[in-house]
Symmetry: C2
Subunit: 369 residues, 2 copies
């Protein structure tokens, strides 16, 4: 249980006249209690009251684990025979009506919302996400330390990707080589790695069993997890005879990445960072092929606040950590993306990922060499 974080949340709830926040298994729950668990068909829900109390509804057979992993002892349990409603009724008898409730809209299920509505007579629901992300965005030094370790692991995994590039090797084999490397060092991947040759015109292309071929632009996008904190890096490699156009967009994306990182600073608006990357790509004539935002926050989730997106007025602060990942995707030709993880410091941006960024032309070897 992170007492300081829970106290800050309670103060934030009081300041908004919110009675309580209900939190399901999620990054937010881990942030507040240290409990890493998963959603199942059996509801497990923590209630953080404006007065600073913490209670939970959980399946009876999970009570011991919940106590041990979260440090919360005020539990309202239900058995499989009773179904979850019984646990929520017990909670309601203890805390009474909840007038204004906060839940994270993007992490909360309708299931638990309806159970709370029925048991605690919730009158109004507000989104907890903007409140909690205010806290979560400003990383503490210990959190930055873990993010840096995760980034270093990703740098090392990217080196494994580059070493494995060869004619005939499949995308999946390269992803596995990187994953095995990370695993052997006690880490794990934070999302399914993308190693995409042919179809890189899709930003979220998935890794296939297609063997690499000369002329491919291989977009490699991977991340590692250290103590719950994630990294996220993308590099692009051109195999063998790279076309002039791929070389050209590689240079443009490299420049957009550099300019955006250099634009980061305290009180700079997130939307400005997006505009810097976007205008660099637009000026080169590829604006319509940069089809996503410039970046996303990084922490306990691979995508979290602050989002580096056009129009965002979010002012960056020391400790904010996010990606800078401009890309250009030319249908039928291929794509290039260069992604780094940066942390805002008093003097600018510290890039946690440091693997060489330039799009590299890789000489071709057969995978059996």
């Amino acid at each position: 249980m992170h007492t300081n974080r829970i106290e800050t949340l309670a103060a934030n709830l009081r300041g908004r006249n919110i009675c309580a926040a209900a939190v399901l298994p999620s990054a937010g729950l881990f942030y507040l209690t240290g409990m890493a668990t998963y959603l199942s068909e059996r509801p497990l829900l923590f209630v953080f009251t404006a007065a600073g109390g913490v209670l939970a509804v959980c399946p009876a057979f999970e009570a011991e684990r919940v106590r041990r992993d979260s440090g919360v002892h005020n539990l309202f349990t239900y058995t499989d025979e009773e179904s979850a409603g019984a646990g929520f009724e017990r909670l309601a008898r203890h805390i009474g009506e909840i007038n204004l409730l906060a839940m994270e809209f993007q992490a909360a299920r309708v299931l638990e919302y309806k159970l709370l509505e029925n048991s605690c007579g919730v009158k109004q629901l507000t989104d907890l996400r903007p409140i909690l992300s205010l806290q979560r965005m400003r990383k503490e030094p210990a959190e930055i330390n873990k993010l840096q370790q995760a980034a270093q692991m990703a740098d090392a995994a990217m080196a494994v990707v580059e070493q494995n590039l060869a004619l005939g090797i499949t995308e999946v084999q390269i992803a596995e080589a990187a994953e095995n490397f990370v695993k052997a060092r006690g880490g794990r991947m934070s999302f399914v790695s993308i190693i995409a040759g042919e179809r890189t015109a899709l930003p979220h292309a998935s890794t296939s069993t297609r063997p690499l071929r000369a002329g491919d632009a291989v977009v490699a996008d991977l991340g590692c997890l250290v103590d719950g904190y994630t990294s996220d890096i993308t590099r692009t490699f051109l195999l063998g005879d790279a076309s002039a156009e791929l070389l050209q967009i590689g240079a443009v994306v490299f420049e957009a990445n550099r300019l955006a990182r250099e634009a980061v600073g305290v009180d700079v608006e997130a939307g400005h960072i997006d505009a810097v990357a976007r205008s660099c790509i637009s000026l080169a004539g590829y604006g319509e092929f940069f089809t996503h935002r410039t970046g996303h926050g990084l922490g306990l989730e691979v995508h979290e606040e602050p989002y580096i997106v056009g129009g965002s007025l979010e002012k960056l602060q020391v400790g904010h950590t996010f990606t800078i990942e401009p890309g250009i995707y030319l249908p039928g030709i291929g794509g290039v993306r260069i992604e780094d993880d940066v942390c805002v410091t008093a003097t600018g941006a510290l890039s946690l990922t440091t693997y060489p960024r330039a799009v590299k032309v890789v000489k071709l070897l057969c995978s059996t060499d």
Copy 2:
């Protein structure tokens, strides 16, 4: 896109005066469209109308993937700059107001529900889960075939677990051996394997780096995934000098598993199967230590309908597939669970998992032997 399944759903909606069902990335979505995707902070939502139409709201840069993977072409997109609300407004202009909407309470997020409420003026929300699970529970022959393949893979992985049991080897190492075996055969695990020695008094104990010791009751619970369909098997091994009490509960659980499987038949109530297993364990004096339901449905999800739980009046039908997994957990001593996957046939139950069920006393070898 599974046209037959979508037509059946539409008929079920019409029969209940429901205007439309909204489905997020989930097993339900895979069941209906064949699209396997994940929840992200960017809403992706499919709407199945009572008239049989299918539409979707999705991020603009994902449109190509959504079309390709789901076969749905009627898309309402939004860009990162606009935010998701814009896509939902476009959907609303096309389909108008939704009076009575169905969403799966346990798979739907408050985020998308609120977006639909605001854009389409939803008046009433009902749970899609019981409607869709009526369809999903009765497995088609092709689905049973995949479940059987997944079960055979789990049987083989359990053999790897048994072969690896030795003094000093850690729980994690055994789990990895099973996982590598499955991976080498093109499969993957459907959930994080549980290999638990000391703390088996917790039914959902997690796998640790603790080395196995003489006297441990090792509960091994794992499952494999084949084309989206899952298996789930548990066996228990006693290492070296097994205590008389562990041998005793092993025999009781074995009998409870056998009796419950034999009780399965068409039109038998799920609650009856639970009662059969529970009374066997209670008669032996261990009733209070069987702390969970007897089983859960199995298919595209590791836990789904029908639940084999006390009081359930759900009548089993041909094609229903679920686990039978009685267990006894003695605090400070250890636990035993024996879990099989069974499919209801016209004449009883076919056990898809077949690995020897009896709790086996394993002779002790050092892991370096």
